[in-house]
């Protein structure tokens, strides 16, 4: 390709130092691991700021980083809804209202809370689906990482020096990342994963802040960016009256209810991957502060991860006159930067034939996922390039590690100890947790190759994840705030809600899509203006069905006596008074402050 694909010794050195460093952290933390709780829950000893940054980072896998910049280039500033609407309110809610039950009940995991609050079948359903999904997600992100590294061609000369063909870049990426992630989790458990997530947070800032700065200087500052982009790309809310008026193709109601309520609360409030970080905090006050501390950088992250997408769009097509279609239609012109004429948003190529993929109109389909890597290669000279690539690799590994630590906990406590072997001593479960870590990583590698062999399987898997996740928040909301909700109600609500999601998706389709994995695999009853609108409505239907079914079944079944629900339900739990002190250390004022700042950001970018 072009000259910038060459790495220098300094770049390799930076990457190697980072790899050595994460393993060293594992080795140092190893001597603090004595019990299964040390390994799986950090012995509940993590300070609030560390737990908070890990809470944020566990979600900042490379798919998130790469995907948000890609969406920034596709949809513009409206992508920030995934942060300001689709994360912050839910993070404030989980910190203020839900942490008292997760942390105060001494539950060891989210499924464990379900077993305390409801019954074994509800826990079993949640634990098994969650365990399967974490391994699958970890494998998918491993595959995505290896594919991206292979596409970048940055390690070709290194692999060539070893006498191996280029295709081995894929295998080596998977093997090396698996060994490192396995190494530091096996040695230091959840603490090691959390520490590395915090380091990853700082590395992402260190790698992306100069990138955004250079991009902004190049484009002529904020004003220059505004001149080069279509107005629709510069507003978060302005076009949301009608799906035709905004690049997302959704209207405000489905955005707020689907993304802002169902999907966002379902993820941030119930997904053990993130909640685990808060449950490892050293006190109730720290646990409640964890998501709130995470919310502060979260609301500013669009400037680091979405802005590169907008910059790439502005720099790729000097006069970007059309919408997403026009952007596709005009093959990106040679850009202003003469030293590197390669486009920041290249067309997609078929990995086997090397030919450019075209849509039905015969126009090239753009590979938005290359935005971040191409920006790094374009703006960073050797040296800084090593830092940028390290940030990217760190986010890949943290995303994987988050899944593996969530998996080994749920497997050990909620599946193995609950259904396979009860009553062993703690050493036995510690060994099982270590074994589960090895198994989790090995299974992720298997999934990565499975996905590589059957490319369409990825869409199917992600679809199934969406079905399972959509109704979850209804169950937790009723469980925590309505003491009458019963185990039968929760279980049937979840199962039927999941089926409702599948049914809705099977009966609808977005305009222009072909029936199949994108929907309408049963029949076509309704068309949505975009795939995003279809996804939001699938979530909304699933949530409502779960909510209604849980209430109806609960009313016909025997409730649990009040004394069994103390500490598990809002009306039967004493208010947490542990958080005294200055206002910014107390959850409620901190949460209100976060919401006000988010509102201001929304007004600025309205």
């Amino acid at each position: 390709m072009h000259q910038s694909t060459e790495l220098h010794w300094i770049d390799y050195l930076v990457i190697l130092i980072y790899f050595g460093f994460v393993l060293a952290i594992g080795f140092i933390l190893r001597r603090f691991i004595r019990t299964s709780s040390d390994f799986l829950a950090s012995g509940r000893s993590i300070p609030a700021w560390v737990a908070g940054l890990a809470f944020l980072s566990a979600n900042l896998g490379a798919q998130e980083v790469i995907g948000m910049a890609a969406s920034g280039a596709k949809y513009g500033i409206a992508t920030s809804h995934f942060y300001w609407l689709g994360a912050i309110p839910a993070m404030v809610f989980v910190g203020i209202f839900m942490m008292p039950f997760y942390y105060g009940s001494k539950a060891r995991s989210v499924p464990d809370y379900l077993s305390l609050r409801f019954d074994e079948k509800t826990r079993g359903f949640n634990a098994i689906t969650f365990a399967v999904m974490t391994v699958m997600s970890s494998g998918i992100s491993m595959y995505a990482m290896a594919l991206l590294i292979q596409t970048l061609h940055i390690f070709d000369s290194l692999v060539g020096a070893l006498g191996l063909p280029n295709t081995w870049v894929f295998h080596i990426s998977i093997i090396v990342s698996a060994i490192i992630v396995l190494g530091y989790i096996f040695l230091g458990g959840l603490t090691s994963a959390i520490y590395n997530e915090v380091i990853q947070f700082f590395l992402i800032v260190a790698g992306f802040l100069p990138l955004v700065t250079l991009g902004l200087i190049n484009v002529g500052g904020w004003e220059g960016l505004k001149e080069k982009l279509k107005p629709a790309y510069l507003h978060a809310w302005a076009g949301l009256d009608n799906p035709q008026h905004n690049p997302l193709g959704v209207e405000w109601f489905s955005l707020i209810m689907g993304l802002g309520f169902v999907l966002s609360f379902g993820y941030w409030c119930t997904d053990f991957l993130v909640v685990q970080r808060a449950m490892a905090a050293d006190s109730m006050a720290s646990a409640r502060r964890t998501p709130l501390i995470a919310a502060v950088p979260k609301m500013l992250f669009p400037f680091l991860v979405i802005l590169p997408g907008l910059l790439a769009l502005a720099l790729t097509s000097p006069v970007n006159t059309g919408g997403p279609d026009a952007a596709k239609g005009s093959p990106p012109a040679a850009s202003a930067n003469a030293t590197n004429p390669v486009s920041l948003i290249p067309p997609q190529t078929n990995p086997e034939t090397g030919q450019i993929v075209k849509d039905e109109k015969g126009e090239p389909v753009l590979n938005y996922n290359m935005v971040i890597p191409n920006m790094l290669l374009r703006y960073f000279p050797s040296g800084m390039l090593g830092i940028g690539l390290t940030a990217l690799l760190a986010s890949f590994m943290s995303g994987m590690a988050g899944n593996v630590t969530a998996f080994n906990t749920v497997w050990t406590y909620d599946i193995y100890q609950s259904y396979i072997r009860r009553g062993e001593d703690d050493r036995h479960y510690l060994r099982m947790a270590q074994f589960a870590t090895v198994f989790g990583v090995a299974a992720s590698v298997a999934v990565a190759y499975f996905v590589a062999a059957f490319n369409n399987i990825m869409d199917v898997l992600q679809l199934v994840f969406a079905f399972v996740n959509a109704p979850l928040f209804a169950t937790f909301l009723l469980g925590m705030f309505w003491k009458r909700a019963t185990g039968h109600g929760a279980f049937f609500g979840l199962v039927i809600g999941t089926l409702a999601a599948a049914l809705h998706q099977g009966l609808t389709l977005s305009e222009g899509a072909t029936p199949g994995v994108k929907g309408a695999w049963i029949a076509l009853l309704h068309s949505y203006p975009s795939e995003m609108a279809q996804n939001f409505w699938t979530a909304i239907y699933a949530w409502v069905v779960c909510f209604v079914v849980t209430i109806v079944v609960s009313l016909f079944t025997q409730p649990r006596p009040d004394n069994e629900l103390r500490g598990l339900v809002y009306s039967l739990t004493e208010k947490d008074t542990s958080a005294r002190g200055r206002w910014y250390t107390r959850p409620v004022p901190l949460g209100i402050g976060v919401l006000i700042l988010t509102l201001i950001l929304n007004i600025i970018f309205f």
Binding site: I17, T191, I199, F202, A206, F380, P381, I387
Partner: protein
Amino acid sequence: MGIDLRYPIGLLFAVFGVLLVLYGLLGGTADYSRSLGINVNLWWGLIMLIFGGLMFFAAYRKSGKRGSS
């Protein structure tokens, strides 16, 4: 638990900062036309070094306090 995380963060950023500064000063091979003529290695390396130093200093101060009390 275990170690104060600010030590390893401080160490990593200080090491990266020193590497970038030295490379920015001595590494003749870097192509700064990419970074719009700015010696981004030198400047960002300095910032990373300062950040690493601050992290180290904060952790050191805290451990000093704990030791004396």
